[in-house]
């Protein structure tokens, strides 16, 4: 009972903060609401006894990603006015399409297939259960192959980010004495034979 109350509190908080992320005008506020939604989902994961994932979510997303994101939002002076210009004009069409999609998808998904009584409640495991161990076991045995591919994807992301942002030292206007010393006469002087012009 107590768990259910906690669940509903955090689930409600999650939905509230997630909808605030996309509706508030201030981008800094939006980023902060995103932090709140990460926190609430971490709490829900804790209820599922997935402590490691919950802590990783807070540490990685809240601690690192979102802080960086906030920096970017604050550093870049994004002018949001032009982005909002067409909002009122496209609103009717957008809302109509969205509502139609919602109804169509709702009709398919919410029918009897995903009823709550068809899905069994998660089993509570005792205090001896370690989520971290289980996760590690699964990652390095059953899911070794996808785990390695994910590692390769992260490596590609690093290579891409570095190659897209580093500037080569060549573009700086530093002098290179070694090359200056090696210069030969032929490189710099062009001797042109021409007729003497009349004075």
């Amino acid at each position: 009972m107590f768990e259910q109350i906690i669940y509903y509190i955090f689930a409600g908080l999650l939905i509230f903060s997630a909808s605030m992320v996309i509706t508030v005008r201030n981008p800094v506020m939006a980023a902060l609401f995103l932090v709140l939604s990460f926190f609430s989902s971490a709490a829900i994961w804790l209820l599922l006894e997935a402590e490691f994932l919950a802590i990783a979510l807070v540490l990685v997303y809240v601690g690192a990603v979102m802080v960086l994101f906030l920096f970017v939002v604050m550093m870049l002076d994004v002018n949001l006015a032009p982005l909002r210009e067409g909002f009122a004009r496209y609103l009717p069409v957008g809302v109509t399409v969205a509502v139609l999609m919602m109804i169509a998808m709702g009709l398919v998904v919410s029918s009897s297939y995903f009823k709550s009584d068809e899905i069994s409640a998660p089993v509570t495991l005792g205090p001896g259960y370690s989520n971290t161990t289980e996760l590690g076991q699964a990652l390095y045995t059953d899911y070794l192959y996808p785990f390695e591919i994910a590692g390769a994807i992260l490596l590609v992301a690093i290579i891409a980010a570095i190659s897209l942002t580093t500037r080569k030292p060549r573009s700086t206007k530093a002098q290179q004495p070694a090359l200056q010393v090696q210069v030969r006469k032929e490189d710099r002087i062009k001797i042109i034979k021409m007729e003497a012009e009349k004075q």
């Binding site: 045995t141 994807i153 290579i159 891409a160 190659s163």
Partner: protein
Amino acid sequence: MILQSDIVLLLPEITLLSLACAVLIIDTFSRDPLRNVTYLLGQLSLLITAILVIYLYPDETTYAFGNSFVSDSMSTVLKAVICVITFVVFLYSHDYLKKHEWMKGEYFVLGLFAVLGMMVMVSAYSLLIVYLGLELLSLSLYAMVAMHRESQSASEAAMKYFVLGSMASGMLLYGISILYGVTGSLELDALAIQISEHSEHGILLVFGLVFVIVGIAFKLGAVPFHMWIPDVYQGAPTSVTLFISSAPKIAAFAMAIRLLVNGMHPLLGDWQEILIILSVLSMATGNIIAISQSNIKRMLAYSTIAHIGFLLLGLLSGSQEGFAAAMFYVITYALMSTGAFGIVILLSRRGFESDNLDDIKGLAERNPWFAFIMLILMFSLTGAPPFLGFWAKWFVLKEVVASGYVWLAAVAVLFAIIGAYYYIRIVKLMYFDKPETMTAIKASQQMRFALSINGLALLIIGLMPGLLMSLCITALVQ
């Protein structure tokens, strides 16, 4: 449990990953501004991987890593073809990057990682692996498009590709999550069994299927998910366009086979109908809009869309022979596209992309041999006998008729005839118009050699298509 035999099956991928990392490190320490070492090592890695793939040709279909990896004839053939095509792409790209003084080692490193992603996709036998392989491929491609930072059009193309590509990945993932939610399995075999057992969940399965098809159609570039193709093809540096238009199409084909045939064969009737619409729309849009293009890269982009329509015809015929015909088609298309963009690279020079139709005017006067190669490529893309492109269209049409869609074959032929106009217009420009410039064509010996082989291959394989076809049949018909 990880068995030793699992590791052996995965050896080509492991080797490629290790070699790509080695190339990355060597490139970091290389001081050569021309990046010759990186380039040669990259080519060597592809060759080693291709040899390993062929050496490990399985006698029977084998699974590894708890049924998430499959090694069968199709995966072997497609992986080898991907390695060979990428080898040719690297060869042309090296020339392009040197010509435009924009040599970057990361180009080849990311190319190798893209090949790894394609190999993962080709051998994927679980929804999770399909998705991860696709992401590995796409992420490398986004970075390659954006790599030319000074070019505004390349940045714009990269941004469009990235945003639309992420949306398509999201769609695919949503479809996968629905399928997983209904059947409770990620492995494709188990998925097929679950689907045939739980026919009462029909609507929900088709709901998931639709999103999966959106993902596949986006990666292939089928209408109406084709918006990115013209912009990315035109905006990206020609060497990257060349890469995107060749090997990844083969991987996308393999993804379609894995998901639709291996995973969702019980839903054949449902995806057949969807693919018919996609196919007809692609052939119509591609062939008709290509007529009005004045940029060769953009024209070839619309031609890609039209060819994807034809490829889908093979898939939707639903028989093993039809899939083999589609495989034949995609390999042929990759060869033709590599050659066509190769010619664009050949004609370009420093600071000048040479991608307008006017730039190809009078090529026969400037260089008769490469005008002839381009002639072969264009006739092959049209589908004129005796070139390889004719057989690709022929086999696909034969299977479509065999599966009872005679009207569809008639529509396909009609659009192919419309398409012939813009291919043959290039031949007309090359042979009957006066050149606008007589600048000599600058290209390395190996580029000239490879491009000649590439063009002549279409003629030679076209004279004896039985060999490639029997390869495709053994790959797909169990």
